[in-house]
């Protein structure tokens, strides 16, 4: 990324399109949203040429699972926009959403430490 030409000041920082065009006027997925920031998304289909670029980008980057927060960061879009886009994809069956494993499901820390120590002694 040594060459980032045309970077001459904050005036050019933004893009011509506004967020409501990207979401086609929606500010959030209607109804109960299955997404929170740590929901993991994995794509179930290949991006198609006719897709909106953001949709295709999500499908491409979610070939391996990514959290909603990460998608939002990579696309540089607010979470609400990303959830709208994800809801579209989910409705079309193009992605799969999985809730992150709650911390309670992890084994007890003491147990893990015991295992580790055991392993290190090997």
């Amino acid at each position: 990324m040594s060459g980032r030409p045309g970077l001459d000041g904050p005036a050019d920082e933004d893009e011509p399109e506004r967020l409501y065009v990207i979401t086609r006027g929606r500010s959030g997925p209607g109804g109960e949203t299955p997404f929170d920031l740590v929901t993991l998304i994995v794509s179930r289909a290949e991006p198609k040429a006719t897709m909106q670029p953001e949709h295709a980008a999500i499908l491409r980057m979610c070939a391996s699972p990514l959290s909603v927060a990460e998608i939002s960061a990579y696309l540089r879009l607010p979470t609400s926009v990303v959830t709208v886009l994800l809801a579209d994809l989910l409705a079309d069956g193009l992605i799969e959403a999985r809730a992150a494993v709650p911390p309670a499901d992890f084994p007890d820390r003491a147990l893990l430490e015991a295992v580790i120590h055991g392993l290190q002694r090997l």
Partner: protein, 540 residues
């Protein structure tokens, strides 16, 4: 001259004859009477002859004078006609060209010596008055145009500032749907106002709003146009080829597209869609806007084309009329200034099909920065690898923590970020909305702050895990901004294959976990730390 002789002789002979006939006593009286009569007649005859001659002379003089007057009249006629038909327009044109009344007046003064000085003075005066009036009006018009361009500029500045603020707020409140919805609506209204200000500036003879110093993807430009109309939801944007518009032409093109889209959505039924597409043609890019409206009558089309033509030539704000023609006038102006070509034709959908041709020299295939382009090139129509990398569902590589997904982060991160041009500064993207704080000068940076994702791979080699291609990934060249993927079909599938391989490392979470347990400093983003954080966020 001797005309008096004849009547006198007749009278004398009559007198003599009478004298011979009458009695001798009356003869003397007759002779006296005859003599007196003869003298009187002679005198009358002489006078009559003199008058006759004088009359002839006067007639000749009159005819001469009349002829002269006629000649002068013809010349004056010709001069007046020439003034109206030739001199005045030429003088006005010269005035417009040189801007000097005196200059124009001197060039078109009357020089015909046959015309009377009074006439010439009067003619030159007329010319002078007209030129001076035009000059004054022109100056006034310019002043008023400057005034309203000036106002439009200020409005544009406020709107632009507000748009940036709104974008920041949208980022900040991206998690709150209610606030976000309100912000989007404000943003939309702001964009509509901005278009009006742009229109005022363009009609005032100035360039539209802002300047872009970098090329912008055509797709972004078209969506930018959609952003500025009321009913953007009705616009169907079809995929466009991955070209970019050079910086100076970006804003005018956005504005022209917005005006055409506005016309299209405004004059078609609310439930119909407007199709927006772009395709390459010999002379550049053709942007087509088709609506399913009532269509234009031939008369309406001619009128619309006339407005466009008018706006492309010498243009008067008086010609504008009501709102719909305002949009076309703006488009016409922009076409004239930037060499776009516009035509309106009946559409196959029954409405109007507007084709805007952007000349080749305004189109570039050079890398464009900007979000949509980055995304577009990352995801646009390009050949996919034959065997697309897919995570195996059964392997459940992400099953442990969300931190695992972050392992895949860097490789993905480079691509989308490579396309995004300028770094967003801190305040614009406060950490509150960014679960992973994003320093945007990332792509080559291997270390990031807080729980920055790429840092993680530093710790992989020490762990000695054979399968982790950690170091190998680091030098992976970040594609230049918005690389045209069609032209590098080999690079991306390879990258993708790599990307796909990463997350399928089973047990990679254990590695992260080991780091945490082995007492790696939390600042380097240990697994436990990340896990707690993300989990905490999830619970919020």
């Amino acid at each position: 001259m001797l005309g008096w002789l004849l009547p006198s002789a007749v009278l004398v002979s009559a007198m003599v004859a009478t004298a011979t006939v009458v009695a001798a006593g009356a003869r003397a009286d007759v002779l006296w009477c005859g003599l007196a009569g003869t003298v009187a007649v002679a005198a009358v005859a002489v006078e009559a002859g003199r008058r006759g001659r004088a009359l002839t002379v006067q007639r000749e003089q009159h005819a001469q004078r009349e002829e002269e007057l006629h000649r002068r009249l013809v010349r004056q006629d010709a001069s007046t006609t020439a003034l109206a038909k030739k001199d005045l327009p030429a003088a006005v044109a010269r005035l417009r060209h040189t801007g000097s009344v005196d200059n124009a007046l001197r060039a078109h003064e009357s020089r015909d010596p046959m015309l009377s000085p009074e006439y010439r003075a009067a003619r030159d005066d007329v010319l002078y008055q007209v030129l001076r009036t035009i000059d004054n009006e022109e100056a006034m018009r310019e002043a008023s145009q400057r005034a309203f361009v000036n106002i439009a500029r200020r409005v544009q500045a406020i709107i632009h500032r507000q748009a940036q603020d709104l974008r920041e707020m949208e980022d900040r409140h991206g998690n709150d749907p209610a606030v976000f919805d309100d912000l989007l609506r404000l943003d939309h209204g702001n964009a509509l106002t901005g278009r009006l200000a742009d229109s005022i500036a363009v009609l005032g003879g100035a360039r539209p709003g802002r300047q872009w110093s970098r090329p912008v993807a055509l797709y972004s430009v078209l969506r930018g146009g959609m952003s500025r109309i009321l009913e953007y939801q009705r616009v169907d944007l079809h995929p466009v080829s991955e070209v970019a518009v050079i910086g100076p032409a970006v804003e005018p093109l956005i504005h022209a597209v917005a005006e055409l889209l506005d016309n299209a959505t405004r004059y078609s039924p609310p439930h119909t869609h407007v199709h927006l597409s772009a395709s390459e043609v010999q002379t550049g890019m053709a942007i087509e806007i088709e609506d399913g409206g009532l269509g234009l009558s031939e008369e309406g089309r001619l009128r619309a084309e006339r407005t466009l033509k008018l706006a492309q030539g010498e243009f008067d704000l008086n010609d504008l009329g009501e709102t719909p023609r305002l949009g076309l006038a703006v488009v016409g102006r922009l076409c004239r200034a930037y060499g776009f070509q516009i035509s309106l034709r009946p559409s196959a959908y029954g409405g109007v099909r507007a084709v805007l041709i952007v000349p080749q020299e305004l189109i570039t295939t050079a890398p464009a920065t900007g979000r949509a382009h980055g995304i577009g090139s990352f995801s646009g129509p390009r050949p996919l690898p034959a065997n697309p990398p897919r995570p195996k569902a059964g392997s459940r590589p992400w099953g442990a923590t969300s931190a695992h997904a972050s392992v895949a982060g860097p490789s993905f991160g480079t691509s989308p970020w490579a396309g995004t041009g300028p770094a967003r500064s801190g305040p614009i993207r406060p950490n509150a909305t960014r679960p992973g704080p994003m320093n945007d000068d990332v792509p080559v940076v291997t270390e990031r702050t807080a729980n920055g994702l790429p840092q993680r791979r530093r710790h992989r080699p020490p762990l000695g895990r054979a399968g982790v291609p950690g170091p190998g990934r680091a030098p992976q060249p970040a594609p230049p901004p918005a690389q045209q993927p069609d032209r590098h079909p080999d690079r991306h599938p390879a990258a993708q294959a790599k990307e796909a391989k990463e997350p399928v490392q089973p047990g990679i979470w254990l590695e992260a976990f080991l780091e945490g347990v082995n007492g790696q400093p939390p600042s380097t983003g240990s697994a436990g730390q990340t896990n707690e954080e993300t989990a905490g966020k999830g619970e919020q």
